[in-house]
Amino acid sequence: MSRPLLDVKDLDVRFGPLHAVRGVSFSVAPGETLGVVGESGSGKSTTMLAVLGLHPKRQANVAADRLEFDGEDLLSKSDGQMRDLRGRRVGLIFQDPLAALNPLMTVGKQIGEVLIRHRGLDKQSARGEAVKLLERTGVPDPMRRASQFPHQFSGGMRQRVMIAIALAGRPDLLIADEPTTALDVTVQAEIVRLIRDIQQANGMGLVWITHDLALMARVADRVMVMYAGAVVEEAPVDRLYAMPRHPYTAGLLGSIARLDQPRGKRARAIAGTPPAMDQPISGCAFAPRCPVRFDKCAAAPPLVSLDEGVRAACWRLTGEQA
């Protein structure tokens, strides 16, 4: 395998007393889709924002043993260098396109801005290229739409505009943070197909963050499950769904309502709630909710490799059971 596009080892993010990300390690290869699943507060977005250098330095304390993009160390880069990287080599799509777009600027101008800044185009050709990008992301009537403002677009169309902006710099890595959560299922299906088609055409790396395990099955090659700021399991997508190893992953998969199961086979809830992140966590963070906890769980389990690309952090899996 070639060098990973993104390589992160032991990432920690703290906001004062709040320890949001606790020793997260992962990598993304070119052309690959890494899915990141977790509930709210699990640190999935915080991790990716830290990778992109988007946490304000005054508030967040970001530390890592290694944080490399295409072999370059990101921690030592200046804010300006990071800005260049974000517009050009790394694209970003957020959940709420209305909040991410400038309401006072036409959509064409906003896409053009990226082209002028990061690809050095002049105003004229930036405009033409912006229309081309809108067309490529499936916005009908792109010429007319380019001169419209974000409020004139529906939610699904706005997300296409966001994708056009993210692709404007021809990124090698695209980070999509819940890009379809605010959309209806039918529109979601179209956006998913669009992003996957573009990825296959460009061979870019893709990190897809979502709390929706059903959607994850559609988009990811490899899935990383996060709980309370740490990775609890990582596996190729087929293996994760066929044989979840960590009790939290198994619980999550069991708790989703499914259309393809007989009625009456009810989803089972995981009892309890995730821990507060401003408190120190002793031992396994999931233990208070875990149906198979035992005395060993008073100590934090390490994330260990089990087999072919499967990692999990659970004492039940290390063969050291009481």
Binding site: V187, A257, R258, L259
Partner: protein, 337 residues
């Protein structure tokens, strides 16, 4: 309604219901234009005692407006709304207020639906005290009882909402809705703001309350997978109209309306192998604006089976398939006529 002994008498009923809004806009020349948004555009729906009816549809289809109109939280433009035999259509708020204890609502966002300055105990006791259903001492006992029923420690009555997680707050909001033993509850996306592992807990609670109090409720959701497991009957809405209605088995296993079929086909399944072999989505584009004037079938612009008749006539909701479900589509009308 003159037969109070009839057990099949609907608890809540919409009859040819329309809810419309006028929006006024000035264009850049200052000219005033009025558009009519038809949020609910002719709906008949009867919810019988003890029944859990699920209302599904995409954002903007009018499902929340319908739910609110059944409780008369919206004005009625045309048609009628009945509740337990009485006609609510023309009633003003003073006349509605005594009826409100019997019809309650649970909202999507438990972070905005609870008063942050009131203790949980005060919030829960309020419906009882407002409607004069209990003395202060009795209310305290009822609060402790309902907290236990929804799975919270009665001691939390002295705390404020900020001390609780989203799932716990939604339990409190549900407790407030059912404490006065209402006849009918509308739950508008009650689990969409919650984490997955907590969603199933709240669904369990709804099931439990339905059994315990013989609760009748309308469950509004965009999530078809969730609805399938809790509903006795499912209604699918598109652009202000119910396009298909029936038991979960018939609607989910044998959807007749092309919109229901497309909607179901778009729901992802947590199974990577199945997802890889999934056919490409059949539904293109987006629903037209509810302010647009549409002739004929409102779905025809996105429908793969549109026929000439769909341009000229608006299909009514009629029994289709094997008689177990109702569908508003000409493809299925010929069979039953």
């Amino acid at each position: 309604m003159t037969h109070p002994a009839d057990t099949a008498l609907p608890v809540s009923e919409a009859v040819a219901l329309k809810v419309q809004y006028q929006t006024r806009q000035r264009n850049w020349r200052g000219q005033l234009s009025t558009t009519t948004v038809r949020a609910v555009d002719g709906i008949d729906l009867a919810i019988r005692s003890g029944e859990a009816v699920a209302l599904v549809g995409e954002s903007g289809c009018g499902k929340s407006t319908l739910g609110r109109a059944l409780l008369r939280l919206e004005h009625v433009s045309e048609g009628a709304v009945h509740f337990a035999g009485s006609d609510l259509t023309g009633l003003g708020e003073p006349m509605l207020r005594p009826l409100r204890r019997n019809m309650q609502m649970v909202f999507q966002d438990p972070f905005s639906s609870l008063n942050p300055r009131m203790r949980i105990g005060e919030t829960l006791a309020e419906p009882l005290l407002v409607h004069g259903l209990a003395s202060k001492a009795e209310a305290r006992a009822r609060v402790a009882e309902i907290l236990e029923i929804v799975g919270l420690d009665p001691a939390v009555a002295t705390r404020h909402p900020h001390a609780f997680s989203g799932g716990q707050r939604q339990r409190i909001a549900i407790a407030r809705a059912v404490i006065a033993r209402p006849k009918f509850v509308v739950a508008d996306e009650p689990i969409s703001a919650l984490d997955i592992s907590v969603q199933a807990q709240i669904l369990d609670l709804f099931e439990d309350l339905k059994e315990r109090f013989a609760l009748t409720y309308l469950f509004i959701s965009h999530d078809l997978a969730v609805v399938r497991h809790i509903a006795d009957r499912v209604a699918v809405m598109y652009l202000g109209r119910i396009v298909e209605e029936g038991s979960p088995e018939s609607v989910f296993d044998n959807p007749l309306h092309p919109y229901t079929q497309a909607l179901l086909a778009a729901v992802p399944s947590p199974d990577p192998v199945r997802e890889r072999s999934r056919p490409a989505a059949t539904l293109q584009g987006e629903p037209p604006s509810p302010a647009a004037t549409i002739s004929g079938c409102r779905f025809r612009g996105r429908c793969a089976h549109a026929m000439p008749i769909c341009e000229t006539s608006d299909p009514a909701l009629a029994t289709g398939g094997d008689g177990k479900q109702a569908v508003a589509c000409f493809l299925h009308h010929e069979q039953s006529f």
